[in-house]
Amino acid sequence: MDEVSFIKKWLTTTNHKDIGILYTVTALYFLVVGGSLAVLFRIQLFQPLMDFLGPHKFNQAITLHGLIMVLWAVSPLAFGLANYFVPLQIGARDLAFPRLNAMSYWLYLFSGLLLVSSVFLPGGGPDVGWTYYAPLSTSKFSPQPGVTVAGLAIVMLAASVTLGTINFIVTIAKMRAPGMTWMRLPMFTWGILFTVALMLFAFPPLAAAVLLLAADRVFGAPFFSSPYGGAILWGHMFWFFGHPEVYVVLSPAYLLMMDIVATFSGRELVGKKYIIYSIFAAVVLSFVVYIHHMFTTGINPLVREVYSVTTETISIPFGVATLSVIATLYKGRIRLTTPMLFAVGSVFLFLIGGSTGVYLSSVALDHWFRGTYWVVGHFHYQLVGAGLMALFAGLYYYYPKMTGRMYNEKWGKIHFIISFISFNLLYFPMFLLYDMPRRIYTYQPETGWAPLNMVASIGGWIFAFSFLIMVVNFYRSLRIGAPAGENPWEADSLEWTIPSPPPEHDFDTIPTMSSVSADGGVETVEHVHFHSLMPFLISLSIFIAFVGLATSIVLTFIGLLVLFLTIANWYRTDILERFSTKEIEYEAYPFEGVVKEKLGVWVLVASETLLFASIIGAYLFLRVRTPGWPLSYTIHDLRIGLINTIILLTSSLTIALALAYVKHGEMGKFKASLFATFILGGLFIVIKGFEWSELASEGFIIGENLVASTYYIATGLHAAHVLAGLLGILYLIFKAYRGKFNSQKYVGVESIGIYWHFVDIVWLFLFPLFYLI
């Protein structure tokens, strides 16, 4: 590595360990922000009729607290560890796409800053609860721009998450060291794999919901303000995301806890295989339980009965997993170090959180519990007790590996004892407060809720303070901690076979796995880490553009300009192939034949499919409920639709031809086909624009009514994807003219081709829905 200054190093790094540290530190920062908000609103709730925050500030505090903790703190903390350790655990030297990984991080950071900065806008930040229930969150009831800006922050985060998802799936599928079979993967890596799979399906619906809400707020497109099911539609879209999201927060922590318990019990996890099956079952089930958040909205009783049963069912696999953990202790050699204490502590809290969840899965009980402090108690036991505490275990566990030094064990244990006790003081009273509505900023003395709230507040302040013990411990131990050595815990996964902290390139030779432990190693080509400022610049420019939307449009233009220049520059460096690496043979069952880039595009396509499915689903949901929805062919000119359909289908053909020609080395025809595809795609956009302006001149504008809004949003989003596809094709054309493709080298054509076909297929769904019926 050449001499780069400190700041430049951190702004440009693409090394997974650096990004892991950036994620971890940033997540801890957001944890402090979210925690401080909690300290404030626990003051407001300390006594009846307190006059400290008032309703407006209180509502902002709880909303930001929820959003930050769920989306910007706990889950990213897990991804900090994942960035650092998943490559090490599978025996790879980095993630599959290092620059994309940097991009995930910078999008995450700037989206968080965007969220937090929304409080400085006139009218303050979002104050509608992290669940953003409509129609409260529509502009009619919450006109302040902070609600929109926070929504944009969520969209930006969803982009970060999507990139991260692609990266981790491809990495774990394709980059395992030889012999690292699926069943040998440590539980933490499994946890991350489950998590990214959940994210892949959960975040696109969220992005779709927030985009529709933004259209509602900005253009007056009446999606969620529609009296015909708008409020319920939000519930469906949000909770389809929201329920899996809570497992996104839990899974990495919960499975990391299992690795830790196994290590400190001195034995292998009992029934690892069955645990993996169980969690897999829970992951699948988690998409068919979300209605349990809507039990009281008055939806169909049969639906509720079914979802009540599926929700009770999901407790079974979690029970199996938890029981296996306890069985692992049996006849072990248990060492109660700090990480182990936090790990078993989190199991204990998970039992309480899970049991109270079973109450909630009962429709009859939930009739009452919904909207009360019982729910607050339940999910904090899960997210903070089971989730965050296990991640603290992970921080203590991995601190020696990351820094090369031991933390102070005594203070670690003190931290555990104080945080465990104060945690229960904070959250257990909430179960007893099952008559108190959640999210109220004040209550009357006659309610009798005061003593329990006092206990909770005091517990909360101690819990917040106890976090500082860990920070100080870690900070001091950086200098004075005893050297840790390679494997201070006698653990047996790969990350413990290399020095602490690991060298820049991680492994001298890529390890091969024969039995359980690593042996030998294959010689590999030298690994280089790149530096690139582009992920930072792109994220920064999007941030500026979004801030501009809420403040001054000039900023938006500056942001977009920087974005454009950065992307152009990225193209240039990429076409010059400044970043080429040699492929190494890895374990890749069952993905042997598939190249990394192609697998990445497939994952992207899966996520995009869900995005469009959500939009189309929302459209159908509203359409069947809205009386007097006119038939499509009375509004839209069928001929234009047909012409555009034919154009897109032809372009699918030309891109397929391009691939065939490049495979056969017929370069002239290859370029011509690419060109034809580009022209056809461009034509589609032009015709679309023509059609739009025609419709608009007839007064059919986006905010007019639902019929217009759904049409413009669905076809507009599709057009944006066509434009993205065109950028990809343009890139292929440039590369083709520089002679970068030949009959051996055409992954780029294949990958972008897949994406292009996908965009065309989406149109085949939109066309009948908007032009025929």
């Binding site: 409260l136 009831f141 169980s278 199996v320 248990i334």
Partner: protein
């Protein structure tokens, strides 16, 4: 003395769940703590755990399925009882939720803001809706509650068996006045 049948049903279900939860958790936690204590620093051959994981998993799945689904059975019974809309209630009251108060409309069309009077023992059917955002109509003493959703009507029946003054509260965040969105039901 329970104030009404909805509360009765709710509390007996709650007690059932609590009995099961406490019993199971105490059992698990005792085993848990016992293992932690017993095998602390234990130095025997650690691979001799001798646990048949498959058997354990199967037994657990069966046992827990029996427990969970029997609980679910009681839940579904309770749910049907509570949710069945009575065919001839003594009194039908329309409830309009709005930011931030409750309006009651009596069968004869009289409107009342924030207070409702009903004779004790009447079977009351509430037809709940919202004029603006999502709210949740809840009567803590009766453990009776239903969402007030704009654009739809939800039904909730209750019977007040005890005279007194009952509080109604909103249980879904609905804006600045959420905490103070209350009403009274006076049962004579």
């Amino acid at each position: 003395m329970a104030p009404g049948p909805t509360a009765d049903v709710w509390y007996s279900l709650f007690n059932l769940y609590t009995t099961a939860a406490v019993a199971i958790n105490i059992l698990i936690i005792i085993i848990f703590i016992y293992f932690l204590y017993k095998y602390r620093g234990y130095r025997a051959d650690s691979s001799a755990g001798g646990i048949d994981a498959k058997k354990l998993a199967i037994v657990f799945v069966i046992v827990s399925a029996i427990i969970f689904y029997s609980l679910e059975f009681y839940t579904l019974n309770a749910m049907r009882f509570v949710e069945e809309v009575p065919e001839n209630p003594d009194m039908v009251i329309e409830v309009d939720a709005f930011q931030w108060a409750w309006k009651f409309i009596y069968p004869n069309g009289t409107e009342s803001l924030g207070t409702l009077k009903v004779p004790r023992g009447t079977l009351v059917l509430f037809k709940v809706t919202s004029l603006d955002v999502h709210h949740k109509f809840g009567i803590p003493a009766l453990k009776a509650s239903i969402d007030a959703v704009p654009g739809r009507i939800n039904y909730l029946w209750v019977r007040f068996d005890e005279p007194g003054t009952y509080t109604v509260r909103c249980y879904e965040l609905c804006g600045l006045g959420h905490a103070n969105m209350m009403a009274q039901i006076i049962v004579t």
